[in-house]
């Protein structure tokens, strides 16, 4: 079986935070300790949604040193394919679920002399765990958190209460925006910047930092792409000798798994590179949506990341 090792958990708390975001607490079935993790780690949550198995990654936001439970915060996405709706509408207190061991693709670089966190909306969650980790390590950090408005700013009040000097909030409805260029150019040498939020924000931060002369090794980002729905298409799996129909609301990876073919994955969000698959033949166009392949690789059409990318056209043959 692909992916990280699994853990059976029970939902022990469901806390709506605002109109869009709900927090879930998981404890191990039968008690016992959960593995520790490092700030920035995520877990992949399995959801049995009708006939479909959904596997969605969520950042762990709880204290990394607390092994009694994990918490995640899920933002409801009405346009998505239903993973977040499932969490919001179907999951009940006491339910048993399967989650993966924590995997970290967004860890702190502890050589940094200062950590500069930039969060957009629900992108705040990995930072909550990292801040707890840095509290223990007495790390030097600063958070800039942009949200649509105060009501939707999950954990903002808690952050300003506990860390009034480190926390800076920006609300769209008050026309507040991060003064990024000045913020970046004022950081002491040895600062690392971390950004988590919508794609536009990540691109903005990466491009501005690069233009300001920040070394690549000091720029960290994480964006989980939820697989987007798209036109149905067919794929032939050469090794397993199967033809798989990919439905409108499932990802290529999910369709492959549904057919019982074991395919590698880790993040399921186009970030880790684990699911990279060789394209043997194709006639049509790729809809590449990952952050893994380079632009040249995407153009070459010899590789696809089935966790988030799709295909439109006549035929697609994969080496799987």
């Amino acid at each position: 079986m692909s992916g990280a090792e699994k853990i059976q958990v029970k939902v022990t708390e469901i806390t709506p935070l605002n109109e869009l975001v709900t927090r879930f607490r998981f404890e191990r079935v039968g008690g016992g300790q959960l593995p520790t993790f490092s700030g920035g780690a995520h877990t992949v949550v399995e959801m049995q949604d009708g006939g479909i198995t959904r596997l969605n990654p969520y950042s762990l936001m709880s204290d990394p040193f607390d092994q009694s439970s994990y918490t995640i915060s899920v933002r409801r996405d009405d346009e998505g394919r239903g993973g977040s709706l499932f969490m919001h509408q179907q999951v009940k207190l006491g339910d048993e679920m399967t989650i993966s061991y924590p995997v970290n693709l967004f860890s702190l670089d502890l050589r940094a002399r200062k950590h500069l966190f930039l969060a957009g909306g629900i992108g705040i969650t990995p930072f909550l765990a990292q801040i707890k980790q840095l509290d223990v390590l007495h790390g030097h950090w600063e958070l800039h958190y942009a949200c649509r408005n105060h009501a939707l700013a999950s954990y903002a009040d808690q952050l300003t209460d506990r860390h009034p000097n480190e926390t800076h909030l920006y609300y769209d409805d008050q026309n507040q925006a991060i003064d990024l260029k000045n913020l970046l150019s004022g950081q002491p040498l040895g600062t690392h910047v971390y950004v988590c939020g919508p794609k536009g924000m990540i691109d903005w931060v990466r491009n501005t930092a690069a233009a300001e002369g920040w070394p690549e090794d000091c720029i960290h980002y994480e964006e989980f792409l939820a697989p987007k729905p798209g036109k149905p298409f067919e794929v032939r799996l050469a090794k397993s000798d199967k033809i798989v129909h990919v439905g409108e609301n499932e990802s290529l990876l999910e369709a492959i798994e549904r057919e019982g073919v074991d395919a590698p994955y880790l993040c399921r969000g186009g970030a880790c590179g684990q699911c990279e698959t060789v394209v043997l033949d194709h006639e049509g166009n790729f809809v590449h949506r990952d952050h893994w392949l380079t632009d040249e690789e995407k153009a070459a059409g010899k590789r696809i990341m089935p966790c988030v990318s799709r295909f439109e056209g006549k035929s697609l043959v994969l080496d799987r």
Binding site: R113, S185, P188, L189, G190, E212, G213, P215, D217, C218
Partner: protein, 198 residues
């Protein structure tokens, strides 16, 4: 001719690059002796207007040509050690976005590199270009003493007086190559010294 092609070696041996202009609001350039030529190669008025240039002549005479580049700051230091206070102050005072360019001997570049890394810049963010003397900064593995500007192999440790072989093993922390005793077994049997790359 200030450029030298180093022979291929073990992985611990540092690999030096070729300077190129990077974008950024602040630039720190440290040029030792013929390293001045590498700076003259990339200098533009625009770049130099944002540059703090430190020149360690070691008997070379590039000062006038470097001064003519009109860098934002220009400092001529008699030695690396004498320039260190200034280098440290630049590193403390400037912010992220600083670009660092080191050029000259391996010993100077190695020491400046570890200085820059202690303030938290990754070594991949520091550019280097070797120019001039191929002399090495050597650390005696026996007494740990440093001998600067070693041109021949074997050489005599300036601290403990042992006859040492010049190795390619390099310590980033000490910014020095390792020297190992050549006549430990057969005292006094020391090969005739010759140039390191001869």
């Amino acid at each position: 001719m200030s450029k030298f092609e180093f022979p291929k070696s073990i992985t611990s041996r540092p690999v030096w690059g070729t300077l190129e202009v990077r974008s950024g609001e602040h630039h720190l350039m440290i040029a030792e002796a013929e390293g001045a030529e590498a700076i003259l190669d990339i200098a533009t008025p625009d770049l130099m207007a944002k540059t703090h240039l430190i020149y360690i002549p070691k008997g070379t005479g590039y000062a006038e040509r470097l001064r003519a580049l009109n860098s934002a700051q220009f400092y001529e230091g008699p030695s690396y050690e004498a320039s260190l206070q200034r280098i440290r102050r630049v590193l403390e005072d400037t912010h992220m976005g600083l670009q660092v360019y080191l050029t000259g001997t391996e010993g100077m570049m190695g020491q400046a590199m570890s200085e820059v890394m202690t303030v938290g810049l990754p070594h991949t963010a520091i550019q280097t270009e070797h120019r001039g003397s191929v002399a090495r900064r050597m650390q005696c593995v026996h007494c740990k003493g440093i001998t600067e500007d070693v041109e021949v192999d074997p050489f005599v440790c300036a601290h403990c007086g042992l006859n040492l072989f010049v190795r390619d093993h390099y310590s980033r922390r000490h910014a020095a190559y390792q020297g190992v005793c050549v006549d430990a077994e057969d005292h006094g049997n020391v090969p005739e010294p010759k140039g390191i790359y001869e």
